[in-house]
């Protein structure tokens, strides 16, 4: 299926104003911002961890269909209590539910779906993203750390749009949107948008466009990032 490309984001089509608040967002609010930008009827993979929260902000009538890499389209909310079935989990191994119109398939078919470019959007976490869309999210590269890639590299190169959801700065204040990634790469030139607690960035061929800021000025952002902002 194809999504409605005339309405690239729902905010645009619905005429909602961009979120412009005077405080940094919680990660749950970031999830809501991302949810707002997912087109109606889109096929979406939310990776593991933080981005899976986005599902809570997608109204049912939007008809977004969730893909999970372990072999399912039409994944429903987290399973609770008696719903829990050990044979039905998401990619993070969390028990989930099945929505009407779901379909199961094996791993080769699931990754063919990803890698063949059929998913409209995937949302991943990241250690770093470069201004030209390189993604680093699978390995710290520290000696002694055990590498584990999972489906991250397949998602990075497969989805039509790869969104990153992350804090803009590390705990020590170092920016994670950078000129060049210093962490081992997951994919090159694959990220189109970066959603953070203080700003949303659109990575375009000619540079990084700031779409929205939350509790920070553009000048302040410029002073804390080593990338050129448009």
């Amino acid at each position: 299926m194809t999504t409605d490309t005339t309405a690239a984001t729902r905010s645009a089509s619905a005429g909602e104003a961009p979120i412009t608040v005077d405080h940094p967002l919680s990660m749950d609010e970031v999830a809501a911002v991302i949810a707002r930008d997912i087109p109606a009827g889109a096929f979406v993979n939310l990776g593991i961890g933080q981005p899976t929260k986005i599902a809570d902000h997608l109204p049912e009538e939007l008809g977004v269909v969730l893909h999970t890499e372990n072999g399912m389209l039409g994944m429903g909310p987290k399973a609770e209590g008696a719903q829990i079935d050990p044979d039905l989990t998401n990619a993070g191994k969390v028990p989930v539910t099945e929505l009407p119109g779901a379909a199961y398939f094996h791993h080769a078919d699931s990754f063919a779906m990803m890698r063949g470019g059929h998913l409209d959007v995937c949302v991943l976490g990241a250690y770093q993203v470069s201004a030209h869309g390189d993604l680093a999210n699978w390995h710290t590269g520290k000696p002694g750390d055990i590498p584990a890639v999972g489906g991250a590299m397949d998602l990075a190169i497969g989805a039509k749009d790869v969104y990153v959801m992350m804090t803009l700065f590390t705990k020590s204040g170092a920016p994670k949107l950078v000129r060049q990634c210093s962490y081992p790469l997951t994919g090159i030139g694959c990220v189109s948008r970066v959603y953070t607690e203080v700003a949303t960035f659109d990575l375009r061929p000619h540079g990084v466009h700031v779409l929205e800021t939350y509790g920070i000025t553009l000048n302040e952002l410029r002073s804390r990032l080593d990338v050129e902002l448009l």
């Binding site: 299926m1 194809t2 009827g41 008809g63 269909v65 119109g101 199961y104 063919a112 779906m113 998913l119």
Partner: protein
């Protein structure tokens, strides 16, 4: 609401197919052939088409009728020559149609590769035969392979048995054949079905083509073909 369109007419289903398109057409002989969509495509008028299908038409119906209408520039198929392929045979002998013969397994696997994001693959079929001409050969673990590239369609026209409103599909018996592979390999996949069942009416364990691969669905009255040569 999924964005798969469930349409009322086959004419809407084939709207927008441009001249010069590559169209993947399902079916193995008559089984799984999307007759109603092909009839609509003939009415629609697109010409200069490249058709990818297992055969090159039987009798005067379906693909054969599209060929007879002069709309097809080139056919990629595995088995053009059949007892009732006289429409194709005549066009070919008159030099009015191009033919690329592709081993049946390569036809399927090359479309799968297109749908799965594989750039190319090394394949053991046809090594040492005339169909290997011009192809790169590589020896891997002592066996020779040919390099084969994906076949991607602008459109796929296929027939399935049942769909749900999201576009999930199931097929019937050997009429399944190329349908599920073609659905993954085309930019726009158009499906004629015997029946659209309510959402939840297909077993998620038994869905053959998941909704993500399906763009347009149109229910058709009956599958008005019998066995080969009998119509």
């Amino acid at each position: 609401m999924s964005r798969t369109a469930v349409l009322d007419s086959t004419d809407e289903a084939v709207a927008g197919i441009e001249d010069g398109s590559t169209v993947l057409v399902g079916g193995f002989g008559l089984a799984g052939m999307p007759f109603d969509l092909i009839d609509a495509l003939i009415r629609q008028g697109a010409k200069d088409l490249t058709i990818v299908s297992n055969n090159a038409g039987n009798g005067d119906v379906g693909l054969a009728a599209l060929l007879a209408a002069g709309r097809v520039r080139k056919v990629l198929c595995s088995f053009p020559r059949q007892v009732d392929s006289y429409v194709f045979d005549a066009l070919y002998r008159e030099g009015k149609i191009e033919l690329e013969v592709v081993p049946q397994g390569n036809l399927a696997e090359r479309m799968r590769a297109a749908g799965a994001g594989i750039g190319a693959f090394y394949c053991p079929t046809a090594v040492g035969t005339p169909l290997a001409e011009g192809k790169e050969v590589r020896t891997i673990d002592g066996r020779d392979y040919l390099l084969e590239y994906p076949i991607k369609g602008d459109y796929a026209l296929i027939a399935a048995h049942r769909a749900d409103p999201m576009g999930n599909l199931v097929y019937r018996k050997t009429a399944r054949n190329f349908g599920p592979v073609m659905a993954t390999a085309a930019t726009t996949t158009v499906v004629q079905v015997d029946e659209v069942v309510p959402l939840g009416g297909l077993d998620p364990e038994a869905v053959v083509t998941p909704s993500i691969y399906v763009d347009r669905i149109v229910p058709v009255e009956t599958r008005h073909y019998t066995v080969q040569g009998a119509r």
